[in-house]
Amino acid sequence: MVPEYKSKSYTHIVWILLVLVVVVIAGVYVRAKVLPKSFGEFGHYRGDAIFDEMNRPIRNGTNSSCLVCHPYIREMHLNGVHHTVSCEFCHGPVADHVKDGKVIAKLPKKQGKEIKRLCLRCHNQIIRARPKESIKMISMPQHLEEKHVRTDHICNQCHNVHAPLMWVKEARAMVGVEEDSK
């Protein structure tokens, strides 16, 4: 006599399968609704995000994008020792100045103490972390004392900020001194 442990009715299995199928269908539907269109196009991310990032507006140009409209500055800047210095570092991004080929605003011009601060970002000898041979370093009140000028002078009173040695060289040529400034 074999005990009757096996039910003849399969309705409970049918129910479980039915619920599973409904859950899977609902899951697939919700996933399709919730996921953005291009998701998974190239990987586990939204494919269009690449184009979003690609089309971010460019705000900084290059030096040539500035100098194309400023020929006088171009002449000075490219022939001076500051030819590697970026225009936009001191003046601000070109996107704030020109839009669609039109000048929309003037970029602020640095004045007085601001200029000195900008110069000393690179040329301050007291910051010892800089490699010594790469650019010329000065320590601030001493440099003015050595040159016998008042200590409240601003750098651009002797140095053209675009070509720092231009006026110095011109002055030397005028008086005929061939002093080697260290």
């Binding site: 939204r46 995000a49 690449i50 979003d52 900084n60 936009e88 996107a95 970002r121 690179c122 800089r130």
Partner: protein, 269 residues
Amino acid sequence: MMKGIEQEISRDRRAFIKKVLGGTIAGSLLLVIPAGAMELDRIPEQIPGMRKEKGPFITGRKFAFIVDITRCIGCGSCCVADKNEYKVPDGNYRTWVERYVIDDHDNVYVDSPNGGLDGYQEPRRDLPHPVRDTFFVPKLCNMCEHPSCVQVCPVGATFQTEDGFVLIDYKRCVGCGYCVQACPYSVRFINPETKTADKCTWCYHRVRKGLLPACVNVCPVQARKFGDLNDHESEVYKILHQPHVISVLKPDMGNKPSLHYVGLRREVV
């Protein structure tokens, strides 16, 4: 012909002069205002051939970034350019410059006032011992080959493109901050304005348009270099194949950064 012009002049002298004057002024204005300045095609392409690439991925190139610590003068040009390019909110930095100071007791002090954005105007005066050595280390996204930030993102908002850039989908990011914690180099932050994760992208949008990253462009001493490793004539290829002391940050993390440092010091790694 001459007769015709003379007749024209005598017919309406005033209108003739107006026309000539107008033409002259318009012509000279054209010289002064070049049409379409700051339009992309007027800026010369710095990475040749990039503007032809229209597909989702850059083909046939493997970009690398090199920072030369022996050249960096800590001026902060890169930080200024970066803030301008992305309008990064105050107090957050996509790239920054650290100052390392080592004293004669081999203690290492690191500081980065305002991320180097204002430059370094003052030396460190708070140190008890004489300084033995000091240098600057610029930091930015390492563009890892095995990025841990991508692994942990629960919504697929940060991803690696096939050309090796690790980017963020700002529309999809929920700002959970997992990636900020996962990054071994601490280059990620939650942008307080967009409330999403944010980080350096090596100026992906500029690169795709044939321009160098903003920080590379402005560096006055060429301490930052960007180029294609598949191009054997490029500067980055030559540097990475020379007998230099070249290294990456935290190599033991296994992230395989594409950002390399020349002259990297034991204290920094």
